[in-house]
């Protein structure tokens, strides 16, 4: 029944990858900016959890709640300090690559100074040492808790996007920025809020990454950004629901190859990405990134 384990693990990891990528896609969808520092924010979320756990014994689930307000604030201010300037440049996408590559390097360098180069982690036993049984398969409790937190975060985000006026305005800007301005939406306000939410989701994913991928180091930001970018391209640029689906596909591909052909596990998810790009260039749920 290895396939059943791969299936369950794939869905659990898919929820994590979907969450890890969603902030990147929201920021791209609303602002057409590629936040290359996204993976570094995930990394910082992991270090925040380790720090609070080691120094004060704070449970990582509590840290999930604690990181939300500062993340929103940092993201909000980052938009007004950097994002707005990038957005008003002639080529926001290219400028964002340059600007956030620089931000990524700065974050990584500061993280090395602050935390050193060694891997930091929290024991999975914090969520119980014994595995849980799902359909007869033993699944680590930490995976279940992490996937559960990811699922709740995703559900709350979708409630925000699809059931609130601000969320609808966010999707309206993703659909057509000029049209949104023409009905009275203030794009700066929505962009700043979205940047805050994107940073918050990344920080939460960083805490969960301690249990899903085993720890964090200052240099892992680039890898995390690449993975998150693969997930959003897979699901469709600018499509939040596509990112969720892209995460599940990515997680399943990773877990099935890790289970049946471990040597191919770094290759298969990206091969699927290339195949989907060839067959459906807009991604699984993407129609067009912009309508105008």
């Amino acid at each position: 029944m290895l396939w059943l384990f791969a299936l369950i693990a794939g869905v659990l990891f898919g929820l994590y990858y979907g969450l890890a990528a969603l902030g990147l896609n929201l920021i791209f969808g609303v602002m057409r900016m590629v936040n290359l520092a996204h993976g570094d924010v995930i990394m910082l979320g992991g270090f925040a959890a380790v720090l609070l756990f080691d120094r004060f014994g704070v449970n990582p689930l509590v840290t999930v709640l604690l990181v939300i307000p500062p993340s929103l604030l940092v993201g909000y201010l980052t938009y007004y300090l950097l994002g707005r300037r990038v957005q008003r440049s002639r080529d926001p996408e290219m400028m964002s690559l340059v600007m956030f590559f620089g931000v990524s390097q700065v974050i990584e360098a500061v993280a090395v100074i602050a935390f050193g180069n060694n891997e930091a982690s929290i024991t999975s036993a914090v969520f119980g040492a014994r595995p849980f049984s799902i359909a007869g398969q033993g699944v680590p409790g930490a995976w279940l808790v992490s996937a559960g937190v990811g699922l709740v975060a995703l559900l709350l985000l979708f409630l925000y996007l699809y059931r609130t006026s601000l969320g609808r305005a966010t999707r309206a800007i993703m659909s057509s920025p000029d049209e949104a301005r023409a009905v009275g939406v203030n794009p700066d306000r929505i962009s700043a809020l979205t940047f805050g939410i994107g940073v918050g989701l990344a920080a939460i994913a960083g805490i969960l990454s301690l249990f899903m991928i085993g720890g964090t180091t200052p240099s892992e930001g680039v890898d995390l950004t690449v993975t998150a970018f693969a997930v959003i391209v897979l699901g469709g640029l600018g499509s939040p629901m596509g990112t969720f689906l892209g995460g599940i596909v990515f997680g399943l591909a990773l877990m099935f190859t890790q289970t049946f052909a471990p040597a191919w596990s770094g290759f298969a998810p990206f091969a699927i990405l290339l195949a989907i790009m060839l067959l459906r260039p807009t991604g699984l749920l993407g129609r067009t990134v912009r309508s105008v």
């Binding site: 609808r168 057509s176 009905v183 309508s291």
Partner: protein, 242 residues
């Protein structure tokens, strides 16, 4: 427009453009409080630039814009919308949202109860919109999109409705439907109307006409006055076979 009538919109010496390209030059325009005006012009004449500048989507380089006597050229788009200007672009809708969500966005910032009441009223005015209300907007036909776009623009109960080429991409049958819908809107909803178009059918809803060419005002007057101008008649009506 009669001299004493209340002015909804008064534009004087408006200039606008993109980067080093000046598109609109010294443009004047007036619309009365309950008037319907059509701006005609060929492709690239500066019609969309004019509307984007009126809405604040593009900054005015020169001139002034007054809306019911209040200078608005320095206001943000959201402030102009709150003042009572509604705009329908050529696209007209948010394709990734549902029809219902498009209508809700048309009244962005309005209290929820008032918004729902207004949408119900508009669905009675536009049965085509009521029929598609629960579906996704990207599935709509070109004509249905325009209807939803007009209804969306009317949700906030604007004092001026501005439409950018509502005939774009439509078959002649649908163009007639949109003209009829606008006439109905004028009769029942009543905002002042500014339409930029190339299609002569929209003169059916015009009380006055402006012609823009090369970013400059070429003509202003009534429809009979336009028809009496030989060169304009040939340029516009001639091509339409009218």
């Amino acid at each position: 427009m009669p001299e004493q009538a209340e002015k909804c919109l008064e534009v004087r010496g408006l200039g606008a453009g993109y980067g080093s390209l000046q598109v609109l030059w010294d443009f004047d325009l007036e619309i009365g409080a309950e008037e319907s005006v059509v701006v005609l012009g060929p492709n690239g004449a500066g019609k969309s630039t004019l509307l984007k500048t009126l809405l604040g989507l593009l900054p005015a380089r020169t001139g002034s814009i007054s809306f019911f006597g209040r200078r608005i050229e320095g206001l943000r788009t959201s402030q102009r919308v709150r003042a009572g200007i509604a705009y329908m672009s050529e696209v007209g809708i948010f394709p990734e949202l549902s029809v219902e969500e498009n209508l809700l966005m048309g009244g962005y910032g309005l209290p929820r109860a008032r918004l729902r009441r207004r949408i119900d009223e508009l669905c009675q005015l536009f049965p085509e919109v009521a029929r598609t209300r629960r579906g996704p907007a990207w599935k709509l036909s070109g004509g249905q999109r325009k209807m939803v776009g007009v209804a969306k623009a009317l949700v906030a109960d604007p004092r001026l409705l501005v439409l950018d080429e509502p005939s774009a991409g439509l078959s002649p049958v649908y163009v007639s439907s949109v003209v009829e819908a606008l006439a109905r809107t004028r009769r029942e909803a009543g905002p002042a109307l500014l339409v930029v178009e190339q299609n002569m059918k929209f003169l059916a809803v015009a009380e006055r006409v402006y012609v823009i060419e090369g970013g400059r005002l070429r003509f202003q007057g009534t429809v009979p006055e336009l028809e009496a101008d030989d060169s304009l008649r040939r340029a516009y009506f001639g091509l339409q076979g009218a």
